[in-house]
C-alpha cells in the first residue's frame, strides 16, 4: 500500500475563536478525524472488531502552528503512520487550499488498549497492515 491519506474538510464556525481564526485545540480534533479516515482508507479493522474490543489511546502529541486559518477555509490533513515498537506513530500536515501552504504540522503516538484501558498487543492483521504502508522520512512532503 502506498502513500499518505488526505482528509478534506472545511473549517467550522464553531472551530474559530475571538482572534477570528481556528482555536489551537481544534487541530487536535482534526488530527483525530484524519486518523480515523486513514484507518478506514487503509481498511484496517480497528473498532467494532469481531474478536475483541480495541481502543487506541493517545500517549503523546506535538503540534507546530505555522499559520492561522479562518471560517469556511478548505483544509486537508495529510496523514502517515508507522509502528515504533509498541507504539503507533502518526504524522500530520494540515494544508490550506486557499493559502497553498501548510498551516500546521503534528505528530501523535498511540498505544492499543482493551476496553478496561489495559495495554494489549496490537492484533496481527493490524501489525501487518501498518508494516505494509510506506513511510515518508521527509515530512511534510514537498508541495
Amino acid at each position: 500500500m502506498s502513500e499518505f491519506s488526505r482528509y478534506h474538510f472545511r473549517v467550522k464556525f464553531h472551530d474559530t475563536d475571538a482572534m477570528g481564526v481556528i482555536h489551537h485545540s481544534k487541530h487536535i480534533k482534526y488530527f483525530e478525524e484524519a486518523r480515523v479516515e486513514f484507518l478506514r482508507e487503509k481498511e484496517m479493522k480497528w473498532h467494532n472488531r469481531s474478536d475483541k474490543p480495541l481502543i487506541f489511546a493517545v500517549v503523546s502529541l506535538a503540534t507546530q502552528y505555522l499559520k492561522p486559518a479562518r471560517f469556511d477555509e478548505e483544509l486537508q490533513v495529510w496523514t502517515q503512520a508507522r509502528l515504533q515498537g509498541a507504539r503507533i506513530q502518526f504524522q500530520y500536515a494540515i494544508f490550506s487550499e486557499l493559502q497553498k501552504s501548510f498551516i500546521a504540522l503534528g505528530t501523535t503516538e498511540l498505544i492499543a488498549l482493551d476496553d478496561k484501558l489495559i495495554p494489549k498487543r496490537l492484533p496481527k492483521d493490524l501489525v501487518q497492515a501498518f508494516k505494509s504502508i510506506d513511510w515518508n522520512e521527509n515530512w511534510p512532503p514537498k508541495l
Copy 2:
C-alpha cells in the same frame, strides 16, 4: 431546602468564536456544569451510587440568547429543578456580573437511565430530594 443554586465561573477563551463572543453551543455546557453543581450543593447522590449506576440523559432543551458575553467575563448560572412526572426539569438563567443582567435563559428535561441506557425509575432518595426543593414560578428571579 431552599433556593436556586448559583454556579460562578469566567468565560474561557476557548468558549469564544470569531464574532468575539461566547459561541451559542457553549451555553449548553454551562447548563450541564451548573446542573452538576446544583446536585452537589443539594447533596443528591447521583453518580457513583453504591446501589446501581444512574445516568441522567437530556431529552429536551431550549435556550434564549439575550446578550453576548466576552472572554474572561464573570458569569453565574442560576439553576432550579423539579420533577415533572418521570422527567426532571431544570431551569437556568445566566447572569453577567459586568452587564448586571441576564445574558441567556434555558431549560432542560432529563430522564434517568441505567448504564445500558434503558429508562429506570428515579431512586426514592432522589425523588424525595427533588420534592423538597422550592420551585420559583417566576423565572428568572427579579434582579
Copy 3:
C-alpha cells in the same frame, strides 16, 4: 427553489461522551454546520459579502433528543428555513442511516447583525432567496 437540504457526516470520536453516545451539546454544532451548508447549497451570499459584513446570530434554540447515536455512525441533518418577521427560522431533523430513524429534532431563530453586533436589515437578495424556498409545514418529513 425546492426542498430541504441534507448534510451528511459521521459522528466524530470527539463528539462522544462517557455514556458512549453523542454529547447533547454537539447536536447544536451539527445544526450550525447544516445551516452553513444549506446557505451554500441555496447559493445565498452570506459571509464574505462584497457590500458589508453580515453576521447571523442565534437568538433562540430548541432541541428534542429522540435516540442516542454512536461514534462513526452516518448521520444526515435535514434542514429547512423561512423568514419570520425580522428573524430567520431554521428547522432541523437529524437522521441516522443505521437506525433508519430520526435521532433529534431542532429549531433555531437567527437575526442579522453587522460586525459591531448591531441588528441590521437582511439584504434584499437574501430576503428574496429565503422567500423563494419551500417550507414544509409537517416537520420532519415522512420517512
Copy 4:
C-alpha cells in the same frame, strides 16, 4: 515573585469521551485556562491593556498523557513560564488529587501579536514580569 501557579478545577462531563475518560484534546483547553489564571495571579496586564491590543498566539505545543482521569475528578494544573527569546514558554503538569499523581505534562510556546495578527514586541512591563518569575529546571516538581 516565586513559584508556579496551581489552577484547580473538576473534570466536566462534557470533557469525557466514549472511553469514559477525558478526551485528549481537552488537556489543551486546561492548559489555556491555567495560562490565563497564571497571568492573572502574577498580575500581568495582558488583555484589555490601555495601550494597545495584545494577543498571545500558541506556536507550538507538546503533551504527554500519563494516566486517564474521569468525570468529576479534582485536578490541578501546575504552571510555570519564562521568556525564550521572542517566545514565551509555558510548562504544565496536571495533578490528580484522587490519584495523587500527575496525569499529563505539557509545554506551549507563545508569541505576542497585535490585533491584525502581526507579531509585535512584548511590552516592557511584561518582559520585566516574566523575568522576575522563578523557573524550575526540574519539571514537574517532586510530589
